[in-house]
């Protein structure tokens, strides 16, 4: 498979702050490549370097065979970008937004019209074509922003948190569209902090935190490798958690504490494990479930994706005690 993006020791510094700390990855044509991580992990910085908005501070970054420090125009011509914030032209109609964007690429008027109609149809926006953008819903704005990124038939579509802030229905609709685009052979690069989005869409993933890559691979492989197939979530008073872990030692590959919950990664006999847990009188509740990417993330960072911005240490009962 052709490599379309290649990063070697890629680094980005903002003054003294190192947002991306020398990472390596490559993206193949036709795959959906996910960058998963909490806010502040460096995801947006990575994609902004790929679409030539942020200059790189060190290392090497090649996009579609071009070095980003040499020829940004020819890279930008072949990429589509869907930014984190919708930056549509609010005074213009849905269709005009597409046509104006097409003009930036120098697409002929007749061609632009044809392409705009196709995209409006594909994203179910045809009935809204002549509405002003200000008047359409958040989900529609998002779809229009994606359509706009496709107006010049790019080779790669970059999506920075494409569904953040959307309701579940709109989110699923966007996933459906992205899946169809992927099936047509389009290369997708997407950043997200939704693990479900990453596991639904991505063929390849990197998990980032604080500017570095913690792990990379296919979503299922990562889950298998890091936490195994099953997890038991146990709610238990913290002072008894160590004892429970100790009794289960031979049945788990590892565990993670978050607040009053302990996540146990089951390797051996799950029935046996459940039996032990359910008989422990300190356990409030427990739940056996298939493991997912959030477990991987939790294990790698010691934090959940949602807690990532907090520095509060939920594992220390003394610190949390006065809050309760």
């Amino acid at each position: 498979m052709t490599v379309v993006v290649e990063a070697q020791k890629l680094q980005k510094k903002y003054n003294d702050f190192e947002a991306v700390a020398g990472i390596d990855f490559h993206i193949h044509r036709g795959e959906c490549f996910g960058i998963l991580g909490p806010n502040g992990a460096g995801k947006t910085t990575v994609v902004a370097m790929i679409y030539c908005f942020n200059p790189i501070s060190g290392g090497k970054l090649t996009v579609l065979g071009n070095d980003v420090t040499v020829d940004t125009r020819s890279i930008k011509t072949r990429l589509g970008v869907v930014p984190q914030e919708n930056n549509l032209d609010l005074e213009l109609t849905v269709r005009e937004n597409l046509l104006v964007y097409a003009s930036y690429y120098g697409i002929r008027r007749s061609e632009a019209h044809k392409r705009a109609e196709e995209l409006l149809h594909f994203f179910s926006l045809s009935t809204k074509a002549d509405q002003e953008v200000d008047r359409i819903s958040g989900g529609m704005k998002r779809r229009l922003t994606i359509a706009r990124g496709l107006i010049h038939t790019p080779e790669i579509l970059i999506l920075d948190e494409p569904t953040t802030g959307l309701d579940p229905q709109s989110r699923r609709l966007i996933w459906e569209h992205l899946r169809q685009l992927k099936n047509k052979g389009l290369t997708l690069i997407l950043t997200t902090h939704y693990l479900e989005e990453a596991s639904q869409l991505c063929d390849e993933l990197i998990i980032m935190d604080q500017g570095i890559i913690l792990e990379q691979g296919k979503p299922l492989d990562l889950i298998q490798k890091q936490v195994g197939a099953k997890v038991v979530e146990v709610e238990i008073n913290l002072e008894h958690s160590q004892a429970l872990v100790h009794t289960l030692e031979h049945l788990i590959s590892g565990y993670q504490l978050a607040g009053n919950t302990i996540y146990l990664y089951i390797t051996e006999d799950e029935t046996e494990a459940v039996k032990i847990i359910s008989s422990c009188k300190h356990v409030h509740t427990y739940r056996l479930r298939p493991s997912n990417l959030e477990d991987v993330f939790l294990k790698l960072t010691g934090r959940g994706l949602d807690y990532a911005e907090d520095t509060m240490d939920f594992t220390d009962p003394k610190k949390i005690g006065h809050l309760l």
């Binding site: 908005f53 930008k76 930014p83 930056n87 104006v100 930036y104 690429y105």
Partner: protein
């Protein structure tokens, strides 16, 4: 290895800013014109009604109490200055408040630089649009004063060219501020400290020779002063070779500060 002398490097770097005047920048101008086509009624009213109020209050009201200046009626003296100032305000407002809204709130610049267009070309497109707005509102006022019989010479046909220089000057000055100010409220300083003094002391409302010699000479530093001299001379047909100095002054001013708005905008938006 032979090193390129720094002076050549600097010149090469500077040349790239002038090369941003290109087809890509025109696409940005075209985008703004498309939006303008939808909003021009409210836009133009703002730019046109206010100067007309000045003309009425000063020319007709105050003017009745003033004998002629330099052999002209007061309204005749003030009218070309009102053309100049309305064009100045149009460019200054467009490339400050309106550009800031596009840059900061609507993220239009971010949307455009994701396409083949570079940030420098976006800035030039904005300057050209400011110039267009300036030309338009100056021309409308010119037509109004012409219909009032205040344009005496066919040399006035050259006024649009001066208005283009005017538009470029003030679009650039405003865009420099847009590249610097932290918040939209900070434009108040720009208008209070730069635009308003220029408005009052460039010879629009009174001949500058009534001022002390020093202040009179300082007016040479104000771009609007040169515009007002040019417009007044062209409306009454008082053509001298000296007018070319004013054109030269404005042209040099435009060319010298030309890289600044682009440099500042890059420093502001791209880290």
């Amino acid at each position: 290895m032979q090193k390129t002398p720094w002076i050549l490097q600097t010149l090469k770097k500077l040349a790239t800013y002038y090369r941003s005047v290109n087809g890509w920048a025109l696409k940005v101008l075209a985008r703004n014109l498309i939006v303008f086509r939808k909003t021009w009624t409210t836009n133009l009213a703002f730019n046109v009604v206010e100067p007309l109020l000045y003309l009425a209050a000063l020319g007709v009201g105050l003017g009745t109490m003033i004998e002629g200046i330099e052999g002209m009626s007061y309204i005749q003296f003030v009218a070309p200055g009102v053309v100049a100032t309305s064009a100045m305000w149009a460019a200054a407002a467009e490339c400050s408040y309106d550009s800031f809204v596009r840059m900061h709130f609507q993220k239009t610049y971010h949307a455009i630089v994701a396409t083949p267009i570079h940030l420098e070309e976006v800035v030039v497109g904005e300057l050209l649009y400011g110039t267009f707005k300036s030309l338009l509102s100056g021309t409308v006022i010119l037509l109004v004063i012409a219909s009032l019989g205040l344009v005496l010479s066919p040399w006035a046909l050259l006024i649009p060219i001066v208005l283009i220089l005017n538009g470029l000057v003030f679009s650039q000055i405003a865009m420099i501020w847009t590249g610097i100010v932290p918040k939209i409220d900070n434009f108040a300083y720009f208008f209070t400290l730069i635009v308003t003094p220029m408005f009052l002391f460039s010879g629009v409302f009174f001949p500058l020779d009534v001022l002390p010699q020093v202040l009179h000479q300082l007016a040479w530093l104000l771009p609007l002063y040169h515009i007002v001299v040019l417009l007044r001379s062209l409306t009454i047909g008082l053509i001298t070779f000296e007018l070319l100095y004013h054109v030269l002054w404005l042209t040099l001013f435009i060319l010298i500060i030309f890289p600044l708005p682009q440099m500042l905008m890059r420093r502001r938006l791209i880290q």
